[in-house]
Symmetry: C2
Subunit: 527 residues, 2 copies
């Protein structure tokens, strides 16, 4: 069923000789079939085809693109249990997660379809002519968002469906009117191939041009690099490590025509525990955060990797309770040996830092590729001085920072790098006394949470998933929710353009009945 080949548009092709296998981390063995890496020639073919397809696809109406997105969702559902099985085989994640993530993926595709159907996303703005204006006449200007060009999306290791082949970035780019080339994640290349086949079936059924979507395999870096460097490519979406995201950003900046790289690179997601909250609910908080730290083996970019409090009896109690909770949670399998090895290395490196002590670890040996969660602690001063403690440890891990007082708490927050999220745990009135801390935290993050956990990224228009560097390469855009479409569009102005030649969105009659800003007034009326 799995060909292991690349899709250049609808063509299944495997000209290369470099092959690799995916891995079943639960069985601790490679899967039997082979995947063939795309060649540089195939990269160029896909990029050429994407540029040709773009010219047609970008002109399609929102409603037509919406039928494509909805058809992708339908075709993914048609794949049924075989997709879920492949997902589990290549990720070690449980079936429940597979089902949930598929639901999220379909939900995203349908949300973008609805967004296209309402049509407001083009942000149509019209300023009508004033031929009599003195000293010079005013021209007629009409502006709307149009598609940027072919987009390359890198699949994410930790979301084989929701942030990979037909995940959030792909849905956003297709919604915008961009053709897409996916660089499939090597850890779940076969899951990727199945989803790609669904996308291509949907493209065929809904009359999309060949090349609107391609899916290329590779384990090494060259295919991705050549894609980012290809002159036809106009933007890049990436979810993964800081190292990988920054490398792509740097590469794109060396192009003769630089292009935007939207890399979402994770973070340590600081949680600030205020004293009264600790006093009143230390045990509950410990239980909640133990769950959040270990959820999905901590393989979420919103994992709470940093818990910050002021040293006190209550913080000690919280720490003890957290340790008990952490030790009671059964370790689970990680996505891949490389990920579990990195987890082991990074948590041990963190534990070795000066002044760090262990709070909780799993004493029993765990099966291969399983993550034995760990919580450690350090003083605020040590944390501020040691940049090694600021790095993300991808996995079920958290560092508790014990500050001497409120001033040190502020200094710790001030010393943080950019983050996806920041969380404040507070008794209702308490937070008012910590305005400085909250303001410092707001400058560092993309989303701030009150009395909750950072894991669980709700897919809705008000979600901002992104944040100041190094959480993402461009804090001005979200990777989750319908506004993710904004990454892949550019505004475009028509001056004195004949009404019959304007796109529907800008015609006098407003045939789509969308909300437009006409001479400064928001209206759905015709001119």
């Amino acid at each position: 069923m799995i060909s292991g080949k690349n899709y250049i548009g609808k063509l299944l092709t495997a000209k290369g000789s470099t092959k690799f296998k995916t891995f079943n981390p639960l069985l601790n063995q490679h899967n039997t079939w082979e995947i063939t890496e795309a060649t540089i020639e195939e990269v160029h073919q896909a990029a050429e085809l994407a540029a040709v397809a773009f010219k047609t696809y970008a002109q399609f109406s929102g409603k037509k693109k919406a039928t494509f997105l909805r058809a992708i969702a339908e075709e993914i559902e048609v794949l049924g249990d075989s997709l879920l099985e492949m997902y589990c085989t290549e990720s070690g994640l449980p079936l429940g997660r597979a089902i949930g993530e598929r639901g999220r993926t379909l939900g995203q595709l349908n949300a973008f379809a609805s967004h296209l159907e309402t049509g407001d996303w083009v942000e149509a703005t019209i300023d009508t002519a004033q031929p009599e204006r003195q000293p010079i006449p005013k021209v007629d200007l009409r502006k709307m968002n149009i598609a940027l060009g072919p987009v390359v999306v890198f699949g994410a290791s930790n979301f084989p469906l929701a942030f990979s082949t037909a995940g959030g970035d792909v849905a956003a780019a297709l919604a915008a009117g961009c053709s897409v080339i996916v660089k499939s994640h090597p850890m779940h290349a076969s899951t990727g191939e199945m989803v790609a086949s669904a996308v291509l079936k949907a493209a065929h059924k809904t009359g999309m041009p060949n090349g609107v979507f391609s899916n290329l395999n590779s384990k090494g870096n060259e295919v991705g690099e050549q894609l980012v460097l290809h002159p036809n490519v106009k933007a890049v979406g990436f979810t993964g490590s800081l190292h990988g995201g920054r490398a792509l950003y740097n590469l794109a900046a060396t192009r003769s025509e630089p292009i935007p790289v939207f890399a979402e690179m994770g973070s340590v997601n600081p949680v600030v525990l205020l004293p009264n909250a600790l006093k009143n609910s230390a045990k509950n908080l410990a239980k909640t955060f133990a769950g959040s730290i270990t959820l999905g083996a901590g393989q979420f970019c919103t994992n709470p990797g940093l818990i910050i409090g002021i040293a006190s009896k209550e913080l000690t109690n919280f720490t003890k309770s957290l340790a008990e909770e952490i030790r009671q949670i059964a370790p689970i399998c990680m996505l891949h040996p490389n990920i579990s090895k990195a987890f082991q290395t990074n948590k041990e490196k963190a534990l070795e830092q000066e002044g760090v002590s262990l709070i909780a670890a799993i004493s029993e040996p765990v099966p291969p590729n399983y993550a034995d969660q760990m919580v450690i602690t350090v003083s605020g001063l040590r944390f501020i001085k040691n940049p090694n403690l600021h790095h993300e440890v991808f996995g079920p891990f958290s560092l508790i920072i014990q500050c001497s007082d409120q001033t040190e708490l502020e200094a710790v927050v001030r010393s943080l790098e950019g983050q996806l999220t920041g969380t404040v745990i507070s008794d209702n009135n308490e937070v008012a006394a910590y305005t400085t801390v909250v303001n410092e935290l707001r400058q560092k993050v993309g989303r701030i949470i009150f009395n909750g956990v950072p894991t669980g990224v709700e897919v809705c228009p008000s979600m901002l998933h992104g944040g100041p560097y190094p959480a993402s390469t461009d804090s001005r855009f979200t990777a989750v929710g319908v506004d993710a479409i904004k990454r892949f569009v550019r505004p475009f102005s028509f001056q004195d353009w004949p009404n019959e030649l304007l796109p529907e969105e800008l015609k006098n009659e407003n045939p789509l009945a969308i909300l437009r800003t006409v001479n400064g007034i928001k209206t759905t009326k015709s001119l």
Copy 2:
């Protein structure tokens, strides 16, 4: 009256020993007073102060920031004729232009003030909680745009007021809630100092924090480079050459925390002349374009530097008429000897290219720093093959491309780099037969014009001033019009945040009565 010093916030300072003078191109001599370059220490002081001021300023309401912007406009007006005189002294531009550009500058400041007062620009989005949702409750999420951080703006040589010290980029950044450090353009540093003094008076009168605005002088590159590299700086605005803009872009990309650089770097603004239009109005078109080419000595980034047609008797007639018109226009003074020297060099280099012939030039010698306009011509094939002919010649210059047929016309358009504008000159029905040309042109430009000239950039919400690289470094934003504010904001989400601690824009009561998207519906109602 001119101190020649730098403003670090309200402090006038000149610790450096490097001095320079501005130049009066009409008199062909240096102005007498000296300007002192900022030192690296002063750069750091300005950046530190900007970060401190940002913390306060970013929290101000739109209405409060609007009073600041309106006060800047008022204080610039108070400078009266002395500002206009200095403008002319340092630029060689005529008084009428000075008055016009001042009007445009005040108009921009007031337009951003009005934009802040309506408040919709924060794009508030609210998704309310669903505590009963299965399988997991839905949290309350609220998103709005917030200020990015301190911004550095480089003044433009060709707009001493409208794109410099209190020009479009500065107005946009201040409106967004960012503190601003201007790197004053060395050609009009004293005009810059006068405007800076107005901004600082306005800041004082309206209670803005010290450091919300600074103005640094330099003739060399180091001050600008150090500003772009300073960790406190979060974005850069630039208007100028491709060489300069790209250098800043590259520098910003090397930072440990990369930041966006919005460089607007000009273009050749292709004009496509369709056959019937030429047949019916060759003489009128020649007159119109002669005016557009020579307007302001061609010192506009929207100057029509490329006129493309299909070789015919009518194109020959147009070319002859254009030559006559061009020769009748009196040359005028350019901004600076460096600019007029570059103009001479670049136009001569263009004329020397293989297959190029002269259409019109000024035979009489012109006074020093005056621009003797020139129009040249080349075949479509030669143009496509010779990248030297694709470069902008900044000044009153245009290249007429004579294509053998419609296919070559398409190929010429396809060979173009990114442009600010593209223009189509057409008889009403004619353009329908040139869909491919128009579609190719649309992919290359930020604004497309029907039967007009590219010069004259209307300041209004529907203007898109920008375009695919190398017209600008980021085609997804405009440098003109109120949407320029979008460059300097980032969206930010509050999750389950207490209503009383939310910004006014996101509170249940909607106290500002702004238009918000609440659970997918656009409304000004409270929750």
